[in-house]
Amino acid sequence: MTAKLTNAQIAWRAAQDLPDGYVNLGIGFPEMIAKFKPEGRDVIYHTENGVLDFGESPPAGEEDWDLINAGKKAITLNPGAAFFHHADSFAMVRGGHLDVAVLGAYEVAENGDLANWSTGPGSVPAVGGAMDLVHGAKQIWVVTDHVTKKGEPKLLKECRLPLTGVGCVTTVYTSLAVIDIVDKRFVLREKLPSISLDELQAVTGADLVANKVGDLIVPEL
């Protein structure tokens, strides 16, 4: 196995595709994308707990804990920010008003199914806003390592874990590739130049469609 992207590099790559528009970054790893937003891109961030157009984290010690994002991290406001209650916040989500929502994943299936909320019995399940987000935004992106910690594929023909949403994912940014989901197939858009198509296919649990494949090139981060 060759080199793979760090989480920061995956986040950087996803950030390059951010449109001018309204974006929700899921809690945890996806939040990192904001750091790499390209200069001049006019992205307005939404968070489920009722804030639109928030900015960076405040310096340590200057947090206002009534001003947080869905990950319960302290945030700041940009000029033009707005507060609203949870039902209005999910009207934005469910009503299709977001351009992009980015989530993490345990598994993604080639038909766009996503599993990211439960590892099955024996743990405490937690779903948060994920099951709403997957049905709301115009595009649903996933950022994830290409394989599990044990080296097993996370991109599969069918998810094994309990689903978060059916046929919802539109693009997956992994540690090895950028893959669009088109007509229930994994369409490879970019891969690391250092990995061959066969090598990539070997760690992917469903067929990759590879017609026009670009190089996945990211800066040192």
Partner: protein, 239 residues
């Protein structure tokens, strides 16, 4: 994401024949008179947009606003709760002659259907209209021993609304009871076009005072001295 449009004409230029248009306001309170009359003027000049479905609580009063749209012949159907007013002739005459359609919706159901359209809720149950003519043909269900009527979401191609303040990114406030249906309509239309008394820079509206967050707004035109429909009517306006 500066949503300010230089002219009203430009803001409404892509409204097409046959579209569903939500128009804010309750009677004259909140009626976006300048947006409406720009659309009427365009229709009179070009014959388009015609065959519109107009969604509003009422069906026009006198000869201005929605009544002017109806008089111009550009409205195929009204979706409203109360097509009566102090001078409802524009609608009434055409309705009784079978020349304009009417979908009569109770006011609370109208509001909730529009909210549902904006919130991605395709259907909901309400006690309103159960056992009346207005629920005929609609699914009925029983919950906790009481009967309810299933209602569908209501969406539109365009919403025309009137705001008090708008910042350039689309956050809005409203003036007094002129708020009424406008915050709901802003969420339920593909394109929401706002006439605001004053456009301010982002940050010019306190985040806690925003009523319509900018995500629901597409275009803003500043109309500093907007006319008030009811005031116009009482002055005897017939433009």
């Amino acid at each position: 994401m500066d949503k300010v449009c230089p002219t009203i004409e430009e803001a409404i230029a892509d409204i097409e024949d046959g579209m569903a248009v939500m128009i804010g306001g309750f009677g004259g309170s909140g009626a976006p008179i300048e947006l409406i009359h720009a659309l009427v003027d365009r229709y009179k000049k070009t014959g388009s947009p015609g065959s519109l479905t107009v969604i509003n609580n009422n069906a026009g009063n006198g000869k201005i606003g929605i009544a002017a749209m109806i008089d111009a012949g550009m409205v195929a159907k009204m979706v409203c709760s109360f097509p009566r007013s102090s001078d409802p002739r524009a609608f009434t005459d055409r309705y009784l002659a079978g020349k304009i359609g009417l979908e009569l919706v109770p006011q609370g159901t109208l509001a909730e259907r529009i909210r549902a359209g904006g919130a991605g809720i395709p259907a909901f149950y309400t006690p309103s209209t159960y056992g009346t003519q207005l629920s005929e043909g609609k699914p009925i269900a029983e919950f906790d021993g009481r009967h309810y009527v299933q209602e569908r979401w209501l969406k539109a191609d365009v919403a025309l609304i009137k705001a008090e303040l708008a910042d350039r990114r689309g956050n809005l406030t409203y003036r007094k009871a002129a708020r009424n249906f406008s915050p709901l309509m802003a969420t339920a239309a593909k394109v929401t076009i706002v006439q605001a008394r004053k456009v301010v820079e982002p940050g010019g509206i306190e985040p806690e005072h925003v009523i319509t967050p900018g995500i629901f707004v597409n275009r803003i035109v500043e109309v500093a001295d907007a006319k008030q429909e009811e005031a116009l009517l009482r002055e005897g306006a017939d433009t």
